[in-house]
């Protein structure tokens, strides 16, 4: 069964690239090609609904000099047009406040550390807020990173109020004249109302100290996530005012296709991708490479 599936996967890939090669402009794609395309998109977690629609668009497309795969690439890149920058950019005369949110184990704490390293390397001063007061050793984990990066970490007692941590971190960031305040929050499933309400409170706590904060609320999404990612994004957008996505763990074999569906439905940009557990394994989002991955053209 394993073998069979593996074979069927690579057959799909082979069929796809074969089909893509044989497609010359001004030729309508045959059904087999379209099915292979649909399958590749589904295998990449784009989701059956989005995949079906994208392929249906190809089917309906008028015959002209743009080949169907080119057309598909272009459509996907257009969806990702907002993802060209690294964010809203630092504000003037006050710390930039960045909040990392997401479901359990998606990569928030590690991403906070990586972002911290990135900003430090850019010559900006950073402070961490350990607002995950819930998970065992959540604070210690961030403290280890803080020590390695020589970045200070504001933390309270385990079980403490996360909003208070956020308040204190913003306060410390402002009084110390820090450039970037990076806040790591506890993992939470988007279905838990009380925990989602806690995010709104965190949001307010930041704004209380620094007007206009948080500047960014990034949803850290595990690239292996399936269609549930869409529900996650919807809820986090609603409760935490998400401004962008970070696709962690893209170094695995999953393609993170649900981010495309999210970018499309919720009009959210993808800012960074995580490519490993190391402090340097963070890169600005590269739409072209990502789309290649979705189409199975990256191998």
């Amino acid at each position: 069964m394993v073998g069979a599936l593996g074979r069927s996967l690579s057959r799909t890939r082979a069929r796809l690239s074969d089909a893509l090669r044989h497609l010359v402009p001004s030729q309508k794609p045959d059904e087999e090609t379209l099915e292979a395309l649909e399958e590749a998109l589904i295998a990449a977690d784009v989701g059956p609904t989005t995949a079906l629609r994208l392929v249906e668009n190809l089917r309906q497309a008028p015959v002209d000099d743009e080949s169907p795969p080119e057309r598909l690439r272009a459509a996907m890149l257009e969806t990702l047009a907002k993802s060209k920058t690294e964010g809203n950019g630092p504000p003037d005369g006050r710390p930039q406040v960045i909040l990392l949110v997401g479901v359990n184990g998606s990569g928030k704490t590690t991403t906070a550390a990586k972002l911290g390293a990135r900003y430090v390397a850019q010559g900006r001063s950073v402070i961490f807020g350990a607002a995950d007061t819930f998970r065992a050793a959540g604070v210690e984990q961030l403290e280890v990173w803080g020590a390695r990066l020589d970045v200070s970490v504001i933390a309270h007692q385990p079980g403490g109020d996360p909003a208070a941590v956020v308040y204190d971190t913003c306060e410390a960031g402002r009084s110390r004249g820090i450039n970037v305040v990076l806040i790591d929050t506890a993992g939470r499933l988007h279905t838990k109302d009380n925990l989602m309400a806690e995010l709104s409170k965190i949001h307010r706590a930041a704004a209380k100290v620094i007007e206009g904060a948080p500047d960014e609320v990034w949803l850290v999404l595990d690239a292996t996530t399936g269609q549930n990612g869409l529900r996650q994004a919807e809820e986090f957008l609603q409760h935490a005012g998400v401004t962008g996505l970070i696709l962690a763990k893209l170094d695995g074999s999953a393609k993170g296709g649900v981010a495309l569906a999210i970018a499309e439905t919720l009009d959210l940009p993808i800012r960074f991708v995580g490519t490993g557990e190391g402090i340097d394994n963070l890169a600005p989002f590269d739409a072209e490479a990502y789309v290649d991955g979705l189409l199975g053209e990256d191998q």
């Binding site: 399958e39 984990q141 292996t224 269609q227 074999s253």
Partner: protein
């Protein structure tokens, strides 16, 4: 979107329920909808293909054509095939080999291994074992600290070793367990990518050194299509014996369960349903099948309700319901038992129609319940047994005592009377107390 597709599916199937014979067209439509539903639920597309081929074949055969209700049979076939695929009988940990037995947990980063280690430890201790938790995760910052803290909160023993060589640490842990008369070592390993050769070698070296009776693959239920790749590679390299599916307390459909089992044949041992060490439940193929199909986890609800409600008391109460002698004492008992089941919103999450209900809608109902409990607590025993004696001055006293308003007391009395009337009407049927409370206006 899930709702949309499962609604569509249910519509198609219910349409089919009405026909006497399934023609190819309506079966085809059902299968197409089914395909979408399974893909939306993150079942791997290859698995979906194979699965639907089986279902289609069975549905097209005699069984359906002979039946009076072909649509129902398609539902049954789909469910049956899924349950068959997901494994018939329940399996638990093997706990094989020399004592102390080693249960080793492996999986991708962030899947839930460390949490599951504590959960398994707790479960093992509850069934009479004396487990030792040991982390050999030398990679992730504060990983060992995390397991140690979880162990403390669950009053379990965690091993604290020296050094940063996983195999060496694991050997120390087994030795420590032997010396302290502990019969199981639950070994938490670092998260690793199946693509990472060095890390896969490390896991293989641990297996080689310890010869664990259980090598459990911890899988995240939020995962998508790629889950089959990952588990195949892990399974190709390590002698996996079972899997635990985590984070099922969310609203993920958990199609990975089907993918993993189809590809590896591994039994699913447990499911994780929360972050605390108690949040581990046995795996029930039929429930996951319903969940993947989007039918709601009705069975879990029934079982939970059965666990919580004292059978004798319920029987007695049913009798009193029929005789309409139901009082506030009984009412309070009902609420107490409902609290055992969990919050109302948790309850509704498990119902098919509950899925569509915004949990914010339920929050006021939960507030009501809390307020009502307080009000009933402020009544005298006499008043609870004879609610009709509660007059104006008593109402004011009760409101004051429970920190509520007289209107609240009035509302409760009114709903209670409605409920009583309703119960009299339902007298002949075997009543589900929860339904009754709902019809009486408690809950949405």
């Amino acid at each position: 979107m899930f709702e949309h597709i499962s609604q569509r599916l249910q519509r198609t199937l219910s349409m089919m329920r009405g026909v006497v014979r399934v023609d190819e067209a309506s079966l085809g439509e059902a299968l197409r909808d089914l395909r979408m539903a399974l893909l939306e639920a993150d079942v791997n597309f290859g698995v979906v293909k194979d699965f639907l081929a089986v279902v289609g074949e069975r549905a097209q055969g005699q069984e359906v054509l002979d039946s009076l209700s072909p649509g129902q049979q398609v539902v049954k076939i789909v469910h049956e095939e899924m349950v068959k695929l997901l494994g018939g009988a329940r399996v638990s940990l093997r706990l094989e080999g020399a004592t102390p037995h080693v249960v080793m947990l492996v999986g991708l980063q962030g899947a839930g291994k460390t949490t599951t280690a504590a959960k398994l430890g707790h479960r093992l201790r509850c069934s009479g074992h004396s487990p030792l938790l040991a982390s050999v995760d030398v990679h992730r910052p504060a990983a060992r600290e995390q397991l140690a803290q979880m162990a403390t909160s669950a009053s379990l023993q965690a091993f604290e070793g020296d050094g940063d060589d996983p195999v060496d640490l694991a050997r120390q842990a087994v030795e420590a367990a032997r010396l302290n008369g502990r019969d199981v070592v639950v070994l938490d390993t670092a998260g690793r990518l199946h693509l990472d050769g060095t890390m896969m070698d490390e896991a293989a070296a641990l297996v080689e050194a310890l010869n664990p009776g259980d090598v459990v693959y911890v899988a995240d239920s939020l995962a998508g299509q790629d889950a089959v790749n990952t588990v195949s590679v892990f399974g190709g390299r390590l002698p996996l014996t079972g899997t635990v599916l985590t984070k099922l307390d969310g609203d993920a459909r958990g199609g990975v369960a089907m993918s993993i089992v189809a590809v590896t044949g591994l039994p699913i041992l447990y499911v994780g349903v929360g972050e605390r060490f108690e949040d581990l439940e046995p795996f029930h193929p039929d429930r996951i099948a319903s969940r993947i199909l989007g039918m709601g986890d009705i069975l879990t609800l029934i079982e939970k309700a059965q666990d919580a409600v004292d059978v004798e008391k319920t029987a007695d109460m049913e009798k009193r319901l029929r005789e309409a002698t139901f009082t506030f004492e009984d009412f309070r008992e009902q609420m107490r038992q409902m609290n055992k089941i969990g919050s109302i919103s948790k309850l509704f999450e498990m119902l098919p129609m509950g899925r569509g209900i915004d949990s914010k809608v339920l929050a006021p109902a939960e507030d009501d319940m809390r307020r009502f409990s307080a009000i009933i607590d402020s009544m005298t025993a006499e008043e609870r047994c004879h609610p009709q004696t509660i007059d104006g001055s008593r109402r004011r006293r009760i409101a004051k005592g429970s920190g509520t308003r007289v209107q609240d007391v009035n509302q409760l009395l009114k709903q209670f009377n409605t409920a009583r009337k309703l119960m009299r009407k339902l007298g002949r049927q075997r009543g589900n107390p929860l339904d009754m409370m709902r019809s009486a206006g408690f809950g949405p």
